[in-house]
Symmetry: C2
Subunit: 141 residues, 2 copies
Amino acid sequence: MRRKLRETANETATMRLRHAGLRPTRQRNELAKLLFRNGHRHLTAEMLHAEAVSEGVKVSLATVYNTLHQFTQAGLLLQVVVDPTRSYFDTNTADHQHFYCEDESSLIDIPGPDIAVAGLPTPPPGTQIKRVDVVVHVRRH
Amino acid sequence: MRRKLRETANETATMRLRHAGLRPTRQRNELAKLLFRNGHRHLTAEMLHAEAVSEGVKVSLATVYNTLHQFTQAGLLLQVVVDPTRSYFDTNTADHQHFYCEDESSLIDIPGPDIAVAGLPTPPPGTQIKRVDVVVHVRRH
DNA sequence: TCAACAGTTTAGAATTATTCTAAATTGCAG
DNA sequence: CTGCAATTTAGAATAATTCTAAACTGTTGA
């Protein structure tokens, strides 16, 4: 007998959390389901909280902030810094870069292998390269 | 007869402001002198304000914010976004990129021609590329 | 099965960076 | 000089985010 989709989504979320070493609580499960149910997304804490509330998920804004940071630390999300006034989180953790459209404060993925950065100089003494972020700023013309 | 250095610096700052279409007020002059007196710098509004105060320049924090944004609009400064909690301004407006050391929240210039970004895809329809920012995140090891 | 405790969530206060407001001041054209 | 628009300012306001301390919940092991 085929199990309900909702049930499966729950198990997937739980697995994902356990794998990341995070205790699968009700809030983390529900947020994980919202975040990872469809294709990749870029969103702020406020946006995720609004989405949760509008879909009847009971969770506080503080928990959304905590959860986004925990997910980021666990490698489930990537934090993208483009706008000095807000923090975006990206559900696509694969190596890739972004277009940033200032007119509408929106991020668009650039698939990983498309971009190549050449001629990286050696990093400052005592440090090692952790990540290379490329943001292509675009504007309506 | 050789004129005093201070006098010359003042004229230079005034010129720079007039060129940028900004009325050379006392505050803008003094901030320009602090910003551009030596090699290139990365600094926040708070940092510049502290420096001004410590050198006896009378200027409010609000004016420092206003001035940094006006200078940026006029092309005298570049705003660099790397840290979700603060905004850096760079006196080097030439084409170049940055190392960002998270351990100490510090920015280090990577000279312009060293880095090359290849394989940029066409920008989203209706937009054109304005700038390509590369931030190389490094960590102490 | 469930007691107990560490981990988690939460409301609301606190913090931080930044912007706004409205009144005082200043640069400059005439 | 005078007058007015541009600029500066103190302090309030805002926005995003973090903190705090109390309530709650998941898990473990008897």
